[in-house]
Subunit: 378 residues, 2 copies
């Protein structure tokens, strides 16, 4: 297939797979799609190890990375900042709320335990800059920013290295801001998407963003469609509306290669499309995820209110680590707490497949859908 | 074009136009689409007049009607029930809340005025039965139920008259219930749709409903896609996912033929896709509409809480009549109150066109979109 983004990024079939799992990235890129490593919360050393692992296995196929660098963050990075020092800034009532919740679900309290949420510091800008130092030493073909405008340094480094910069947006207005700043590829992500998302659905947002960016600057800005897409027919639908490709996430979560827990995999396969919720419970920003005792607790009258980044994610990580461990040991009560980012497309997933099979099925379903719709008008 | 629903309903181009305006119904059916009269709140005599008007002008082209008969209603119809007697059952604090709101927007109070909201009784089951008596005396080709399961009488009358019965749903589970009851055509309506809608987006709901109904019974149940569709490329996208046609509403609201107020038309053309909200403010049930001072007032701390049908719609009608009149006389403050059901697709509308032109543009855009996407794989 040939869309402008195929030429720009060297991909055959413009199916973009966002995943935190390097195995998925490699499998998708080798199968003819485009794997994008979600590099949130990695230290520079960890990212170096991940990218080296990918380079050794991807056989020269193109891949990218996605850095979620919050445009707005409630604390600034400072020398010597650690997860422990950040943890001390969490208000006592939030520690108490989380401890009480854990106890109700039969899990040991959190606040007394040593801090093991090292990833919080990875959200800081300084770490992001050092991660970019690492990323640009590897043959990445695409770098994507997920939380607002990218830092100017991402644009500058992308230009210097010849690596296109992408950005996720949830509204036409945000797409215009991104293109004006110099972003090369827009990912228009509908409200049905897993993770951080806006209010507008993929069906409306995709044509709206395409129309909006067509009015900015002289060159064509490719738009990838995201939100709800877990099959080739949906990808074909998005491209029929004018998208240059599809950006996907949820469909890779229950694959063989995915590193999510068995508990989470089972919950995903059982979930209906109505079982997700757009909530601040996991990250402090509105993000779609599975509804669980965790999202519901924060809506109760005794909730102390959501914290901002990076604090809410620290609480979430602590609880999810403990709840997952207890659930895997057989606790039904702990299982109720466990959740994760996922889009409404989860309702369409009910098998565990290899990532390679998912790519192949996308290709086949894409072709079959277009053939079927073409026949109707023939 | 030939989809199963084209054969079933005798339509050339399976674009369904839901409208409360008979002019739109006639214009769409004559242009090769399928007009569906939203017959909510008509008395049997009014409906008789509307359908006779349509029959005289539609030139034998197929059309249908949509009755929103609430599956659950807070009061039962009883002999002698009038809008005035219903109005007396509205709690005093709700009258006071509405009066205070009107005063703040420079409009005369409501509770002291004579009742002019005769349409409330039209929501009652008994009126619906008498409206069906009327409808089945006309050459309708399709009858659709919009609020839950249809009464058994609609299925029985449809069977007897050879008129297929359709139903709007917002989830796969509801689609299964409808097909099991005997409904012939499912309208899968995503959360981005105007009016009553569920949580799941069109991009996810359409393939989900198609998959769900394929498992019920032996025959093929056509599925129409609804929610966010205001252009041919979006219709093509829905049909690429396997829909048999597209069901639309918002796109007809700012047309030349539409009977909405000039104030509302201007607000629609100015609105972005993010300016709608799923609220109980207008009908008592969750329905997507333009965000306005009316929807916001009900979310404030002094709100007395939403009423159920038919009471909340009575308050809404009273306020919208007064606010629209005052806004048309030039009051900016009254204008802030005015709202109406509309989907997120409103963000893509920015011209006043004839309904005939809209149908023609759908056809052209549909064909162009499929040609463009086909070229990518060639």
């Amino acid at each position: 297939m040939r869309t402008p983004v195929c030429d720009l990024l060297g991909v055959d079939f413009p199916l973009f797979a966002f995943s935190h799992c390097r195995d998925v990235v490699v499998a998708v890129s080798k199968a003819g799609g485009f794997g994008v490593l979600g590099a949130v919360g990695y230290s520079p050393d960890e990212l170096e190890a991940e990218l080296r692992w990918i380079d050794d296995r991807v056989g020269g196929r193109p891949y990218g990375i996605d850095l979620a660098i919050p445009e707005n963050m409630s604390v600034k990075y400072e020398q010597g900042l650690t997860s422990s020092s950040l943890k001390q800034r969490i208000p006592p009532q939030h520690h108490a709320f989380v401890d009480a919740l854990l106890r109700r679900h039969g899990i040991d309290p959190y606040s007394a335990a040593p801090s093991d949420e090292d990833r919080a510091v990875g959200l800081m800008h300084d770490t992001a800059e050092r991660c970019m130092d690492v990323a640009f030493r590897h043959p990445i073909r695409f770098i994507v920013q997920a939380l607002g405008l990218p830092p100017q340094s991402m644009i500058d480094r992308g230009r210097a290295a010849g690596v296109p910069v992408g950005a996720l947006v949830g509204s036409a207005e945000h797409a215009i801001r991104q293109v004006e700043m110099g972003v090369d590829v827009i990912v228009a992500q509908g409200t049905e998407a897993g993770g951080h998302c806006g209010e507008v659905s993929t069906m409306v947002l995709v044509p709206e963003v395409i129309r909006a960016v067509a009015g900015v600057g002289a060159k064509h800005t490719p738009v990838l469609a995201a939100g709800g897409i877990v099959s080739g027919r949906q990808m074909a639908a998005a491209m029929t509306m004018g998208a240059d490709g599809a950006w996907t996430g949820s469909v890779w979560l229950p694959t063989v290669e995915s590193e999510i827990s068995q508990v989470m995999r089972e919950k995903f396969l059982a979930a209906r499309s109505r079982d997700t919720v757009r909530s601040r419970a996991s990250s402090g920003k509105l993000a779609r995820q599975l509804r669980s005792a965790w999202t519901e607790a924060w809506e109760q009258p005794d909730s102390p209110g959501y914290l901002q980044m990076p604090f809410q994610p620290m609480l979430t990580a602590a609880v999810m680590q403990r709840a997952t461990k207890a659930a895997e040991a057989g606790s039904e009560s702990a299982r109720q707490l466990v959740n994760y980012y996922v889009g409404q497309g989860v309702g369409l997933l009910d098998d565990i497949k290899s990532a390679r099979t998912v790519v192949q099925e996308f290709m086949e379903d894409y072709a079959a859908a277009l053939e079927r719709v073409q026949t109707l008008s023939a």
